[in-house]
Amino acid sequence: MARIAPWLALLVLLTALYAMPHFAAGQPYVLHLLILSMLYAIPAVGLNLMLGYVGLVSLGHMAFAGFGAYVAAVLMVDVKIGFWSALALATLASGAAGAAIGVVCLRFRSHFFMIVTLAFGLMLYSVMNNWDSVTRGAAGFAGIPRPAPIAVGGESFPFGPLDHFYLLVLSAAVLVFALQRLVVHSDFGRILAAIRQDERLARARGVNALLYKTAVFALGSAIAGFGGVLQVSFLRVAAPASFSLAESINMVLIVIVGGAGTLSGPALGALLFVGLPEYLRAAQEWRLVVFGVLLVAITLFAPRGLAGVAADLWRRISSRRAQAAS
């Protein structure tokens, strides 16, 4: 029974999410917030694989989202390729960029690694901001289209309407989370865990740690790029401000507050990150002060993040139930 319960819960959740346009009809803002949450959650999954499962704290993650976003923008608007091909190519390109930059960054450890990734993030940002002829520079790359309508059961399904795009992003998010689970439970994932626990021991047993770390860095960057393309298709503009150092830092917050190294962490963190400032809107400038204080509080009192809190609660409930039953 216990084995089926989480899967059942997941099924119910997915059904509810896919039915959301129906529940939220007349409240498009809810869909908008959900889309934003998922657009944050997708790159967060990439960072979670790097940070949560291997301990690589990258402070330049969103720069790869930007890389993918701009590659897709140029492909769609200048080269006039369709959305789906641009999405695939941009994701691959981000992965390649991740591999190349990862090779350099991974020569360093812990704090060194963090600062070097920060530096690369800033350098990529500079290119996005300064290369006017290609990226349209600081004013942003406007005119990015939504995906072309697809044929569904004989009818045309456009992605302009918010609820349709919501379904697209939801499906993309489901795909990415499924991929995350696949990776974590695979041999690849197990080796990553081994590297995280004791790299020297893993190497002594013949694991090429650098290769695996580079691979996960590339995978994380590819996922970030994938999310970046979806984001700029949603906003219909690609601007450097969306991929700045501040955004990369937000990504780290999302992953850790959500629960690094857990499968649901990225989703919980993204929801909190999008939802909490909404609740605090009334507080104006104090909103961010409260948010900052909350973050510090979370590190002190809920160090395993939201997923950890949820897991603890679940354990307490189920043990109490077991006690009551006995």
């Binding site: 940070l51 704290v57 350099v104 020569r107 360093f108 450890r109 812990s110 704090h111 060194f112 963090m114 600062i115 070097v116 920060l118 530096a119 690369f120 800033l122 350098m123 500079s126 290119v127 901001n129 300064n130 020297r200 150092l245 830092i249 780290v252 917050l253 850790i256 507050v257 690094a260 400038e285 104090w286 961010l288 002060v289 409260v290 948010f291 900052g292 204080v293 909350l294 973050l295 510090v296 979370i298 590190t299 002190l300 160090p303």
Partner: protein
Amino acid sequence: MDALLEQIINGLMMGSIYVLVALGMVLIYGVMQVVNFAHGVLFTVGGYLAYFFYTRLFPSYPLAVLLSMGSLGIIGFALERGVFRPLAGNLRNQVIASLGLILAIENLVVAIWGPNALQFRVSATDVLVPVGELRFSVQHLAIIGITLAMVAALGVFLKYTRFGTAIRATSQSREAAMVVGIPVERVHWSSFAIGTALAALGGALIGPLFLVFPQMGDAPLVKGLAAILLGGMGSVPGAVAGGMILGVVESVSTLFLPTDYRDSIAFVVMVAILLVRPQGLFGRRMRGED
């Protein structure tokens, strides 16, 4: 004056400010292996407090600076005990806590003083001193002097005083220091307090030179990080070398490379140097890491 020489001097002047910022960070890292990302906002608060003391309390600039340093020292003590000590050993959560502090403090500054820049005029130091064809204000020269004095003072303190030696011992090995009876907890919070006081000094000195505004610590933070990384994370002479090199590279690069990539160029140089010497210019190679 030769254009190159001019830029080198500009670079050294700017670099000295980076050194000042890096000094506070390098001490904290050396002793506790904590990268205090909140150093930038503490620098900012130092500037605002100095401005506050100078304009509201008593128009003595040295007093304002000292009061600001004292206040930040106390804040540093509180932060170490309240936030960083409980998180000792947990790199990820320390980073998050620092980031949370940045958010809270920077926006607190805006909530209290507003988003506009404040002008912190100290007439005594506004005087210009010519250096060849260049002219620098007394304030700027004072910054260099004070930075050098701080580097020297820190060096003497660490090497020749009892407590300084205790700090060095703790940075080498916490367990061994505890074994020989060094009050490690006291070493930790006092190092942190000294580090934050140095951050305040930076802000208080920069304020009159430029302006006091809420984001004034953001760029210095990144430069400071790059400087200590380049210099070798726990090394004071490294921080000096790193800061100076960064400043000079930035200035000289404007002679022949597009200025909008100025930051990137400095980073490229930093990464290139690190690729050749991963532990930084003055860093020590840790055994077992490669």
